[in-house]
């Protein structure tokens, strides 16, 4: 193999599994380290800079970081990254010190944001400190978008949401609430320098062709509309028996909310196998813990309406089979359809984008999925001053993706307003700093905790099921947050090898608890992976290869299970191994 180029910032970035997996590339190990030191304000600041909504995301993030966490490979469970994010929001003392200064003298550029969700708010936060004037339009009475209307309070209290949203609006956003834009042309006609559309995927899918849909209409609801109805108290109760169709997080929110509104028997029915459910595993667990059965492999056949009243639904049990390529086929099981009695049905079978406000006459090119044609990097549409982000850009994803889009759109808008090339984007801010404090002492805590993942305490089940406003999770207290933070393996502290001083004494090989380090003859990657001391079969994880050493061999380190414990560097007589903290900060708008 060719020697690894550690000067490529993406090499060490990829070693930090959690940060690499995060769409907004939050420096996870660094904020976790700050928590372990008790520096909650600093931990919050690091979060706020990169993901903008630590309090919200600390509760409802999809957590792409956690399955990526090295700890899942070293033991079983990842560090509770999401819950630690919440902890830094819960335990911080002061969150005003880090707020950016907003110039009194504006730069004369005006930006319109359509939709007040996380993507738009991120654009606002990134652009306001640069002197832009930002107008925000939303059809609701308050900002927050999907997060406000569809995430129930027992998962995300309104207080937290308001705090995070208001922090951004307070930077000087001109808000136009209860202002539905029914024609984008009216905005385009104004003298905005750039327009950002962050209107989400606002339309819940229906099952219009299912028999009985028309007749049972009064008792059939679309999930996201129903949740918004609950929020605005148009819906204050649920009937005794209720079916929820769908396997995503919206279905989980609907069924748990229904329980809190008085439904006695709530059942979730999913068309496909359970393993393919889109809901986060922890949301499924929480629903089941609240006594809600989740029945998979049931395809809806008909709404059954008797005397003008919905009495239940018929389902066809299905069987999943897999061909040689692993492609799943869903076929009816050789059994009769089954009937589930109910008083109401909530359909949470997916969301769709809708742009009724973008008329054909505007000439904005849309693709065959009904989504705008965008440059995937710049998020620019076919109309140069029009940008999209969040669920409105590429279909429903999640909040953290919307935030990442917001950052990118803000960069694009800033470049666009300066008449610069949108593809000449600012580079990430990277740094590599030695952690050497003394002969064998480090600036970071190199000890490796053997603790198992700490559980988040919850309020009494009976109590929380009575009131939809009571948050179920209580969050970590400070001592637990500390212990959980200590589980972090410091993947941002990199093992850096200097081949020029190595005397090949084998000390690092002997001490490495995970048998990561090898000195061996070079070969191609497949060959090397076969020959290492411990199986190196995780192809997603790089091999760190040095230039040839004095004996002609090369140093090969499998990054997969490295604990970043620093023992190789401690046992190295010539400091050929060093522990260096790698900082990787995504570029924000305005960075040179």
């Amino acid at each position: 193999m060719q020697p690894t180029d550690i000067n490529d910032p993406e090499y060490f970035h990829k070693v930090i599994d959690c940060q690499y997996a995060c769409p907004a590339h939050t420096p996870v190990p660094e904020y976790i380290r700050q928590i372990s030191l008790g520096h909650y304000d600093e931990a919050f600041r690091i979060n706020w800079l990169s993901n903008v909504f630590p309090g919200i995301l600390g509760r409802i993030c999809d957590r792409p970081c956690e399955p990526a966490c090295r700890r899942t490979r070293v033991e079983e469970t990842p560090v509770a990254i999401c819950r630690l994010k919440r902890a830094c929001s819960d335990h911080r003392l002061d969150d005003s010190a880090f707020l950016p200064e907003i110039p009194a003298q504006k730069n004369g550029r005006r930006i319109a944001l359509i939709g007040g969700g996380p993507a738009s708010l991120t654009v606002a936060r990134d652009l306001l400190p640069l002197g832009y004037s930002v107008d925000l339009y939303d059809d609701q009475a308050r900002a927050g978008g999907f997060v406000r209307t569809q995430v129930p309070s027992f998962r995300l209290p309104e207080r937290v949401l308001n705090e995070e949203v208001d922090r951004i609006l307070g930077l000087g956003v001109s808000c136009h609430f209860n202002h539905y834009i029914d024609d984008l042309g009216t905005i385009l006609a104004q003298d905005y320098d750039a327009i950002f559309v962050g209107t989400g995927a606002p339309r819940g899918r229906d099952l219009p062709d299912l028999p009985g849909r028309q007749e049972g209409d009064g008792a059939i609801f679309i999930g996201i509309d129903w949740l918004a109805g609950v929020l605005y108290r148009h819906i204050v109760s649920a009937p005794p028996r209720l079916l929820v169709l769908g396997g995503g997080n919206t279905a989980m929110d609907c069924c748990r909310t229904a329980k809190r509104l008085g439904a006695e028997e709530v059942t979730v029915l999913v068309r496909s196998p359970r393993a393919e459910m889109k809901a986060s595993p922890w949301e499924i667990e929480d629903a089941e813990a609240e006594g809600i059965p989740i029945i998979d492999n049931h395809n809806p056949l008909a709404f059954v309406v008797e005397n003008g009243r919905l009495v239940g639904m018929r389902f066809q049990p299905m069987v999943a089979s897999y061909d040689d390529q692993g492609v799943r086929r869903l076929e009816p099981a050789p059994v009769e359809p089954v009937f589930f009695p109910c008083d109401q049905v909530i359909l949470a079978v997916g969301q769709q984008n809708a742009f009724p406000f973008i008329g054909a006459e505007l000439g904005i090119r849309m693709n065959r999925h009904g989504l705008p044609e965008l440059d995937p990097v710049t998020l620019q549409s076919s109309l140069p001053r029009l940008f999209f982000g969040g669920d409105a850009a590429f279909g429903p994803k999640n909040v953290i993706t919307a935030v990442a889009h917001g950052h990118q759109a803000a960069i694009s808008i800033d470049l666009f307003c300066q008449g610069r090339d949108l593809h000449q984007r600012p580079a990430p801010g990277v740094n590599l700093v030695s952690q050497k404090l003394d002969m064998q002492e480090w600036l970071y805590d190199s000890g490796v905790s053997a603790d198992k993942r700490h559980l988040v305490p919850t309020v009494d089940r009976v109590k929380s099921l009575k009131d939809r406003l009571i948050e179920v999770e209580l969050g970590f207290d400070r001592p637990t947050a500390h212990h959980e933070a200590m589980r972090c393996l410091n993947c941002d502290v990199q093992t850096v090898f200097d081949h020029s001083t190595c005397i090949e004494c084998d000390s690092c090989v002997d001490i490495c608890p995970e048998s990561c380090i090898n000195f061996t003859d070079n070969g191609d990657e497949d060959d090397l992976r076969q020959r290492l001391l411990a199986p190196a079969d995780n192809l997603d994880q790089a091999l760190y290869v040095s230039v040839p050493l004095a004996t002609g061999r090369v140093m090969v380190k499998d990054e997969n299970l490295c604990l970043h414990c620093g023992l190789c560097a401690e046992r190295c007589p010539t400091a050929s191994w060093g522990m260096f903290k790698f900082t990787y900060n995504i570029p924000l708008a305005g960075r040179k």
Binding site: Q440, S507, D510, I511, P513, C516, L567, R571, P573
Partner: protein, 350 residues
């Protein structure tokens, strides 16, 4: 400095035939200097024991004094151990071996412990062919007292002190062959591919196995001018042969060309397969072994590998016809066989 090794180990490393993981053979964290050859030597011992599935509780580690003699703390933490007096490891090992012949004895010593203060003890353990694996971690200096030249330092070698050594060195391997060791090998801590099989062969051998491990002192004797530095040893070592150790249970699958290999059946039935050796060379021939060592020395080369082995050797127990069982397993009836047995014994003297 970390005083504890993390608990996690690579989850895909499997246990050995005895059901032990590699971790079962590890010991406490080393307090030796970073980069010390002794740590690599102990890692090789761990590897050899792991690969042979030696039950850790059936091993006794005995050592003298010195950097090397500290190392039994750093491997086989679940085995028996005795850190004895300077140069007296062979005596304590002899006593232990006499009391319980069933354990695997690993004697750890250094060049000071062996070639200076313990020279007399060393010679007599060799002469008696005690069933002991005598591992000498040889770095040519007294590391624990700041690097004075030891008796194995080569003439003219210059360590960190900066002055050349004035005396001739003692070649412990030659001495061992001459004084009766039945398995003599030399390895290098920086070459585990060679060292681990040497240890495995030694563990299977019945009788005194002496392994001289060149184990550089990274702090006091790893200079460009030292003959016991990592660099010098790599440049000047000459492997007599490479070999595979084949435990008894394992089928021999590899076949070597005639003339280029030699098969040696060990006391316990396991085999050593030597290959790539010179044609006509016989590793069981003492005279050849000493001649070869001297010849390579004249060429300025350091001979490593398996130098001499007598697979049919008789160890101390065989020589003195001692009790077949460990003393701790003897019961009253064994120790006091009664009047009839006494009369029988007396009758033989009449």
């Amino acid at each position: 400095m970390s005083d504890r090794k993390p608990e996690f180990r690579h989850p895909k490393l499997t246990s050995n035939a005895g059901g032990y993981s590699r971790r079962d053979y590890e010991g406490a964290m080393s307090t030796l200097c970073a980069g010390c050859g002794h740590d690599s030597t102990t890692a090789a011992i761990i590897q050899a024991c792991f690969e042979l599935s030696v039950p850790p509780h059936r091993v006794a580690k005995i050592s003298g004094i010195g950097c090397s003699s500290k190392t039994p703390a750093y491997f086989l933490g679940k085995s028996h151990g005795f850190n004895s007096v300077h140069g007296r490891m062979p005596s304590v090992a002899t006593g232990a071996n006499m009391a319980n012949r069933d354990l695997l004895y690993i004697g750890i010593s250094g060049d000071g412990d062996t070639a200076s203060i313990g020279m007399g003890q060393f010679g007599h353990a060799l002469r008696r062919n005690l069933n002991l694996n005598y591992i000498c971690m040889n770095n040519g200096c007294y590391g624990l007292t700041k690097g004075q030249d030891s008796a194995t330092a080569d003439l003219g070698s210059i360590g960190k002190r900066g002055a050349p050594n004035l005396y001739n060195s003692i070649d412990l391997c030659e001495l061992a062959i001459e004084l009766g060791a039945s398995y003599v090998a030399r390895g290098f801590s920086g070459d585990k591919a060679q060292l681990v099989p040497l240890f495995k062969g030694a563990f299977a051998h019945n009788g005194l196995a002496f392994i001289d491990v060149i184990s550089p002192c990274v702090t006091f004797n790893n200079t460009n001018t030292s003959t016991k530095s990592y660099h010098y040893v790599r440049e000047h070592s000459e492997a007599t042969n490479t070999f595979d150790f084949v435990p008894l249970q394992q089928e021999i699958l590899t076949h070597y060309q005639e003339g280029s290999s030699q098969e040696i059946t060990m006391h316990d039935g396991s085999m050593i397969l030597l290959h790539k050796g010179e044609p006509g060379r016989d590793v069981t021939n003492r005279l050849q072994a000493v001649t070869r060592l001297e010849a390579e020395k004249e060429r300025g080369r350091l001979l490593t590998g398996l130098l001499y082995v007598n697979p049919a050797s008789r160890d101390t127990h065989d020589i003195i016809n001692s009790c077949q069982r460990p003393l701790n397993s003897l019961v009253d009836a064994d120790l006091c066989p009664g009047n009839a047995a006494l009369q029988e014994l007396n009758a033989t003297f009449r």
